[in-house]
Amino acid sequence: MNSANDILMGTHAGMQKPSAPKSRLRKQGMLSYKTKKRLVPFLYVAPAAFLFSLLMLFPMITVFRYSLMDGAIMKKNAVFVGLQNYVTIFSDPVFWQSVGQTLYFTVMSVVFHLLIGLAFALLLNTQRIDPTLRSILRVLYILPWLFTAVIIAIIWRLLLDPNGVINSILIALNIVDFKVEWFSSTKTALHALTFANIWAGYPLYMVSLLAGLQGIPKELYEAAGIDGANEVQKFRYITIPQLMPIIISIALLDFIWTMQVFPLVWMTTGGGPIHATEVLSTYTYKLAFSSYEFSLASASAICILIMSMSVTYFYIKHQKAR
């Protein structure tokens, strides 16, 4: 640290005569000592800022620029058209259908991730289950998290195939009397897709909440027990408030991530049947790589960015409040 400071200030032994007085050294060079000192923090963050600009800011600005042009990428002389691309996608009913379905998919996923994750975390935290069984359950419950989106898509495509295991079980139990086309019917596709995503995502909550549960002081429960609180009251007044910071953090992050989910949707339904599972990510992808309308796709991507950033705002606010 000191060495780095020395180099930045131009006072390193290798750069100056060792015998030179300090006051003279400070005057040497183009910048004054004060200015150099002020620059130090900026130089420290410079590498990160450079990488951020190169990998995040530059692509974002480029996409935004594309969204204001006509025929970006595809035309050699693309021209500035202002907000025309935004007007075009806002007047497309499929875009609004995608927005609605993205919100349904996201909200349902976040809510059920939380409920299932919390239930499993409580189960794994309880002392009433045999430790060996608890260890086995811990491994089993975390499995979905270990699979990639491709594997998850294949698993659920096979399970929910009209001739798949789920239908066989449902027919055997007389719950349904026909082969349900889960991913192939406009009535069930979005729910089936959301279900697969819920299954794939709850372990994040489970692991985080389990860590949170293990960090709650036992004395709180003992004191509540002495005061006559029952299990439900302990859960409501101790567990939930203690877990709330974790719940808010991961729920907000999950909301942002789920809103942008693409691989699972693409590999299971591709946004179909018709537009029944069209979400903003598939809508944008089709504009870019099927229609080659990169300007419209950029406008759609900016809309997703704005939606994500609005949630990010709450996340940052929450983090600051903590």
């Binding site: 050699k76 192939s184 596709a189 049947p273």
Partner: protein
């Protein structure tokens, strides 16, 4: 003396350096992007390139290979940034967009300069009158029939008309045993099902979906085909899960004996044999409308080849195209790829191939290649638009006539761009 020796050494070194530099400058490196290398036996395409390099000293070919979809994305990006490889493997569905983008060159002048005999090319794909792509190898889509299922259903001959096909599909269907007569993949991820499994019925009967280069989807042939396919669905002969089914699912169901018939690429014969060696199956041309006596249109997919407009070595690139299109090399390439040649004089050697290829070659020679999506603007998008409308028809939201009319409207917008 020492100085003289030193000078002589320096002169020799300079001469050697100059010679090497001249050699290096004399050598031209060209890039060839395609998705074929991974689909061919290991080293097969490289071997052909090595032979080309031996026949054309001074030209080195660098193969840029990848799976189909990533190659497509690479080509789109390369076309946009002006860094497209010199020689480009093309799918007919991309040609129009790339040509309009100015990314692929017209090969007319190159052919004229080389006094190339165009009559030997099976098909030249043109955009705005410019020759931009040669189909190097074609993969025809016949009907695959599970002969054991057909025999068990009492079907003695391959269906040649739509009526015979519908009757055969009905006989082969036994929903209780999860057996169906036909399989139709209409997933939206890759809307190729519209081209291979739906519109192929139109082309098989010599009809068209275009008129004067413009969409003509409301004609009797197209509407009739949609009505026919809808009737097959209403009869319950199509394997369930149509809207989420992909091409690989289709092949899988056929391999497992769950469907009696499918329209599929000949390229899958080896795959089917590998997956189920016991499967007894045959092939036949796609059935036509009753009473049709003309030449059967054979749906096909192809490995097309073209030259990048931004290439600085167009002459060398043309040499490679010409080499690959020559009867001997083309014959050798398609024999390895189990495809049909792009050069009419090429004689593929099917002696080491599956006996069905020889049978398929007869079908190929008696019919005509037909794929009207080749060269159309945003062809994949057109297929997807139609796919959605056909799905709505299957879902009972509209009739075949309405599906055709709605697709027509959307296509006209795309064609007008």
């Amino acid at each position: 003396m020492n100085v003289r020796k030193y000078l002589a050494t320096m002169k020799s070194a300079a001469a050697v350096w100059a010679l090497c530099t001249t050699c290096a400058f004399a050598e031209t490196n060209i890039e060839f992007i395609q998705w074929w290398e991974p689909e061919m036996p290991a080293g097969a395409l490289r071997g052909i390139m090595d032979d080309f390099e031996a026949a054309n000293p001074g030209i080195k070919v660098k193969l840029v290979s990848g799976p189909y979809s990533s190659t497509r994305d690479q080509i789109v990006v390369g076309a946009a940034s002006g860094t497209l490889s010199d020689v480009v493997g093309l799918d007919g569905a991309w040609v129009n967009g790339l040509s309009k983008q100015g990314a692929i060159a017209s090969m007319d002048s190159l052919m004229a300069d080389a006094k190339y005999d165009q009559s030997q090319i099976a098909d030249i794909v043109k955009v705005n009158g410019q020759s931009v792509m040669f189909p190097l190898a074609s993969f025809v889509y016949p009907v695959f029939v599970n002969l054991d299922m057909a025999k068990a259903a009492g079907i003695e001959t391959m269906p040649t008309t739509r009526t015979e096909f519908a009757a055969a599909a009905k006989k082969m269907t036994n929903a209780d045993k999860n057996e169906y007569g036909w399989v139709l993949p209409l997933a939206l991820q890759n809307p190729g099902g519209i081209q291979n499994d739906v519109m192929s019925w139109v082309w098989a009967s010599g009809a068209s979906m275009l008129k004067d280069g413009q969409p003509d989807l409301e004609n009797e042939a197209v509407v009739g085909t949609l009505e026919y396919i809808k009737a097959l669905q209403d009869d319950g002969v199509i394997s369930p899960g149509i809207f989420a089914k992909k091409e690989q699912d289709k092949v899988e169901e056929f391999v497992n004996g769950r469907v009696g018939m499918m329209v599929d690429s000949l390229a899958h014969i080896n795959l089917i044999r590998e997956r189920n060696a016991k499967l007894n199956f045959g092939i036949s041309a796609l059935p036509a409308v009753d009473g049709y006596t003309g030449k059967r249109g054979l749906p096909y997919a192809s490995w097309g080849i073209g030259i990048s407009d931004s290439s600085e070595h167009k002459a060398e690139a043309w040499k490679l195209v010409e080499y690959l299109m020559s009867p001997e090399v083309n014959g050798r390439l398609v024999s390895i790829a189990n495809a049909f040649p792009g050069n009419v004089n090429a004689k593929p050697d099917f002696s080491k191939s599956d006996p069905l290829f020889e049978e398929a070659f007869k079908i190929f020679q008696s019919g005509t290649l037909a794929n009207e999506f080749v060269g159309l603007p945003v062809a994949e998008d057109l297929m997807r638009d139609m796919n959605v409308e056909v799905q709505k028809m299957f879902d009972g939201q509209q009739t075949a006539k309405e599906a055709a009319a709605n697709t027509q409207k959307q296509w006209l917008v795309e064609f007008a761009k």
